[in-house]
């Protein structure tokens, strides 16, 4: 077991280094895409600024808490984007073009290989920006700071994990649906809902975002826990979402692989 872990850590490290090398080959593109991601973060921030210039609080969620949420969202999404985003874009293509074949005969976990192939470091700026926003608005949002920063790190990774699992579900449908691109854009439409605090939503949508489409766990619920207004029940929902999506995607992967294998000649 240890040997396998060491192997996969080695693969991850090598792939990360390789991707850095690649970014340096395309420096102009790297800078340009960093700009895109940064502008996106700015637009999100501007959105919150505009909204809160019209009202002091939205459903009890103050301006500073709104920004605290945004900081957490940016940081968590940056982690997801750096390590996984591109791999999910390539995933449907890998299934349809037979790239999957070369992965399946390698002596390592195929999903791990598919998810660590391509990394994009352009979002590092957004990670930094997110953490900056967190520290700037933390105190006024009610975040105690100190060792609680460890909890921030933990929540950032939980948020990224949720994104990986849900995105995985969407991408695995490409075993059955050929138009993987349309499914991906559908994911991003839903994902938009996670870009706002779940307190903004009517109850039904709120519970959807904590169960079937658990985007509230990317940053919204974590932000509530960090400022001390989290509810224990949400932790249960979080656990259920992670376990549920884990087994669902595992089942889909196996089913899909079998289908892939019965259809190919």
């Amino acid at each position: 077991m240890n040997k396998i872990l060491a192997q996969h850590w080695d693969i991850f490290k090598t792939s990360a280094r390789n991707n850095l090398v690649r970014e340096f080959f395309y420096r102009a593109n790297f800078i340009a895409m960093t700009m895109v991601d940064f502008v996106w973060a700015l637009v999100e921030a501007l959105f919150f600024h505009v909204i809160y210039s019209n009202t002091a609080a939205l459903n009890g969620w103050t301006r500073d808490q709104g920004f605290f949420f945004l900081g957490l969202f940016l940081a968590s999404d940056a982690i997801f984007s750096i390590f996984f985003q591109r791999n999910f874009w390539y995933f449907p293509g890998a299934i349809n073009s037979g790239d999957l074949d070369s992965v399946l005969i390698k002596p390592a976990n195929p999903i791990f290989l598919l998810l660590t192939r391509s990394m994009g470091f352009t979002q590092v700026t957004n990670l930094i920006l997110g953490i900056f926003i967190l520290s700037r608005y933390g105190t006024s949002a009610g975040f105690p700071g100190g060792w609680h920063w460890l909890a921030v790190v933990l929540w950032i990774f939980v948020g990224a994990l949720i994104q990986v699992l849900v995105r995985m579900f969407f991408v695995l449908t490409s075993f059955w649906i050929e138009r993987g691109y349309t499914v991906s854009s559908l994911y991003y439409s839903f994902f938009q809902m996670g870009a706002r605090p779940d307190l903004f939503y009517p109850t039904a949508i709120r519970y959807t975002l904590k169960s079937a489409l658990p985007f509230a766990f990317i940053a919204s619920v974590p932000a509530q826990f960090l400022v001390g207004i989290g509810r224990r029940g949400d932790l249960l929902l979080l656990g259920a979402s992670i376990i549920g999506y884990f087994f669902l995607t595992r089942w889909m992967w196996r089913k899909g692989l079998r289908r892939y294998q019965s259809a190919s000649s």
């Binding site: 593109n29 959105f47 991003y188």
Partner: protein, 268 residues
């Protein structure tokens, strides 16, 4: 039968071709419409819901709950008009070199690409008009106001295409302009009024949207359709839109005539 002159003929058949194309993929068309129109509207709607129903705001940005819901619903009618990936298409053509082939055809390449994409836009317009007719029966919206808004939105769509054409010339120098187009689109999503009504902007930031033509895509048409801008306002917006089109037309012509020379000199 009347013989159609060539300068008109290719344009008509391109348009027809584009319409046929969009009909062939109507399943995709509806799925995309769902993703790109309905979900953002839900996100926006919930924002009003949280402010008024969950919180206890009386007004937000000077608007009542009903007014904001009307804004969100109406803006959906126009938000789909401004979408269009023509700039990505041209970028791709330049990068892969297929643009050279387009240059050899006896048609104007940019216009060709625009007209082809109009096929889908026409379907959107018809759909939006049907919804607007229905709405004018059941709500206080006037269909004539909607038509005026639609007029401005069509001009806005032309502006959108022109700006895309201008930005994409970067591809002649940088191999591709993907990042620039993306940046533009992100900015547009906020400054066109797709995310929130633009009068929400605090006083010291209004220059941001007033100084750019993006508000003519969604915010302006929506205000007109809702009857908040009428008569003289509409004429005023019409002149502004035409001025942008004229200016951008010149700019695009200049940028292209300059950079296309570079493209051909490099051998495509």
């Amino acid at each position: 039968m009347v013989r159609i002159p060539f300068f008109l003929g290719w344009r008509l058949s391109t348009l027809r071709n584009g319409i046929q194309d969009s009909l062939a993929y109507r399943w995709d068309f509806f799925l995309r419409l769902f993703g790109s129109a309905l979900v953002p509207a839900i996100v926006q709607f919930t924002l009003w819901y949280s402010a008024f129903k969950l919180g206890s705001a009386e007004t937000l940005g000077g608007n009542t709950y009903a007014e904001l819901v009307a804004y969100t619903a109406t803006s959906m009618l126009f938000s789909q008009l401004r979408t269009g990936d023509q700039d990505f298409t041209i970028d791709d053509m330049i990068r892969t070199g297929t643009f050279s082939a387009a240059l050899l055809r006896p048609v104007r390449p940019l216009e060709f690409i625009y007209l082809r994409s109009m096929g889908e836009k026409l379907s959107v317009m018809i759909l939006a008009s049907l919804i607007a007719i229905t709405a004018s029966i059941f709500t206080s919206m006037h269909f004539s106001h909607f038509l005026q808004g639609l007029g401005i939105a069509i001009l806005g769509n032309i502006i959108h295409f022109q700006i895309g054409c201008a930005v994409v010339t970067l591809a002649f120098y940088w191999e591709q302009s993907y990042a620039a187009i993306m940046t533009k689109n992100i900015i547009v999503s906020l400054l066109s009024g797709e995310m929130i009504p633009l009068h929400f902007f605090p006083e010291n930031l209004t220059w941001l949207w007033k100084g750019l033509p993006f508000y003519l895509y969604i915010y302006g048409p929506t205000q007109i359709a809702l009857g908040r801008w009428t008569g003289g306002d509409v004429t005023h917006q019409l002149w502004i839109a035409l001025a942008w089109i004229a200016g951008l037309g010149l700019l695009v012509r200049m940028l292209w005539s300059y950079s296309i020379r570079r493209y051909q000199a490099l051998g495509g």
